[in-house]
Subunit: 383 residues, 2 copies
């Protein structure tokens, strides 16, 4: 029920009502976003970033909020997404608790927090809302849409539902549909939250918060965001110093890897709204770009038109959005006539590599963006 909004957030009001794909509509809803760089006169140099499930719109520091963002090394002057050339917009996902309207927001029709009264949320709703933001910022066509993880799903949905909205696309650790292993993991995460008596069918408060459920969900998340390979090297069988152990608890933390999970969970649990977690998690399970094509993902991807070039990146050690899902995206986009580059990264960090493997992901994104034609030229072509 709490929202966690970074300073310097800007808001875009969605049209009211904003219809939702699975039924119902939002009233007075808004998207939180941040920007970097300057939109050129032809509005041809805009890059939209769609995030994973938990990040806010603060992808990098900017004058309104000098704190480092979650992709600080990727975005800025002279950085891979160079804000001297590009006008960069990062949007907080619809349904999140980090500024955009979601289950933790106030329902203007009742005056109370939505909680489980929030309409069913789908990836497509996030895509439609993002399309309205792009339009609202005066951008007819994005130079590029970048989507990571869940944002990679949202980006594909955006491109499929709003043809011509972007000239190019960077899909990082994304997927064109949810597969059963990731559905199983997310189902367990949701079950852990729902089993916590403090969840109370979504009616928790600050004082009675489903902390244990959220801790389990986050730890299970971290297990699937990283990789066994990374942990073998990083933790091995190293144990905690005796002063960091609770000797009176026979099943307490003993190994470094357990302490690492605990620290991750502690940083997360009180800073993310449990109902928002449930809604966004479920939206990923539901996502299937082939839905309108009898479940044929290739058909769904082939229906994406107007994207001239794409970079699709996956990570060999990713168990949550495994590499064959990015191969599928790349093959599908190629099929759709898009000039597509596919990069399977050997990063050991698993799904999260795009957040931490600067050495591999920075140059890959930079070199792709350098290949994009100059703005004025394209603006002329589009006109």
């Amino acid at each position: 029920m709490a929202e966690f909004i970074p300073p310097g957030t800007r808001w875009f009001d969605l049209p009211s009502p904003f219809p939702m794909k699975r039924g119902g509509a939002l009233h007075g809803a808004r998207l939180a976003y941040e920007t970097w760089g300057t939109l050129d006169a032809a509005a041809g140099n805009a890059i939209l970033i769609l995030t994973g499930m938990s990040p806010d719109a603060h992808a990098a520091s900017n004058p309104a909020n000098p704190a480092p963002g979650w992709w600080e090394w990727m975005i800025g002057p002279g950085k891979p997404i160079d804000t001297q050339r590009w006008f960069v917009v990062c949007v907080n996902a619809l349904g999140s608790c980090k500024g955009s309207t979601g289950p933790a927001s106030r329902n203007p029709q009742t005056g109370d927090t939505y909680r489980l009264e929030f309409p069913e949320l789908s990836i497509e709703d996030g895509a439609d809302a993002a399309a309205l933001l792009v339009q609202g910022l005066g951008i007819e066509r994005l130079a590029c849409v970048v989507g990571n993880s869940m944002g990679g799903m949202t980006a594909l949905s955006l491109l499929a539902r709003h043809p011509g909205i972007a000239r190019s696309h960077v899909n990082i650790c994304g997927a064109a549909r949810a597969l059963p292993f990731s559905i199983a993991i997310r189902s367990l995460q949701r079950e852990a939250i729902r089993l916590d008596p403090h969840w109370d069918e979504g009616r928790y408060s600050e004082a009675s918060y489903p902390e244990n459920g959220m801790r389990m969900a986050r730890k299970l998340g971290v297990v699937t965001y990283r990789s066994a390979l990374e942990w073998d090297g990083r933790f091995g069988r190293v144990r905690l110093d005796s002063e960091r152990r609770e000797d009176d608890d026979p099943f307490g933390l003993e190994f470094e890897v357990e302490s690492y999970l605990e620290a991750h969970a502690r940083r997360f649990v009180r800073k993310y709204d449990p109902n928002c977690y449930l809604y966004l998690s479920r939206s990923m399970d539901w996502f299937d770009l082939g839905e309108a094509h009898a479940g044929d993902t290739a058909h769904g991807l082939a229906a994406i038109t107007g994207v001239q070039s794409a970079l699709v990146i996956g990570v060999r050690t990713d168990i949550l959005f495994p590499l064959q899902q990015q191969e599928e995206i790349a093959a599908g986009l190629r099929n759709a006539g898009c000039d597509t580059r596919f990069l399977p990264m050997p990063s050991p960090q698993g799904h999260d590599a795009f957040l931490v493997d600067e050495t591999r992901f920075g140059p890959a994104v930079a070199s792709f963006l350098r290949t994009l034609p100059a703005t004025h030229f394209i603006a002329g072509m589009v006109a």
Copy 2:
């Protein structure tokens, strides 16, 4: 607090006291076991099977219990472990609730169930107890010790601690030490049980049983016992029929894979003792064959002597005991002078493949056992 003992179980009384590796001792403890086939006059045709964490000793049907066992297709007349040639013994792990003494057993010193008063359990204790059973059955030297999963750990410990106890070894989906990914998974499983208010520091009863915690633990187990690849083909994005869904639960089961996990959990939760689960789970985290060699696993394996031949099988899709752990075992045994065959199986079923992939595992085990020298010849050599 409940024990789940198959009919026809036989018992072997351990010496009393039975000292435990990490301190303390058991009094009046026993091992549950079953046998198939006939021990020959020289006691040279015995095969010992050490199980994973949850199975009982009923690996296959026998006159005392005609119900199918958990490895029914592997053990029997004319089957891969051919009981016309071999005398087969399967032992229920020390610390289990399936007949052998464990936290769910009665502590003869107090008259109450052990619960958390059970001494700390290690894989080595299970190995030492199994060695005593072998001796107690009048077997000086096993023709072969077969260990699956946790049983693969126990088998390595048995061979290292009791030199000469077996002429040959089959290690299936085993490991010479626990690595951080599997430690993390098991740590989460234990946390799920411990977070359940009904666990109550181990003092639960039938009426107040940590069902939710056990369900989470089991589901997470099943996720790591199988593989994403198998599930893609088996479940894909198939949804439950509407009559199998609870329409009033917005986050209830929707996909087949969720229903599969739920069914697995339901079959398990009331049939396994939560404290035994915690003890055996932790014993795997602790296991490190290199412990006495400054953590050097290769040294630990090199210290295994007297095993003439070995078959080591791993599964490419196993995420819990990944293939490199079986490669490590095979390399180590070769180093120790053992004639070792290493078989990386392409089975899609992950860690559990040894339970279900009859077509691959049956012939592999059969062909290895056929290479073992005839009993009377070996018996003569050993004498």
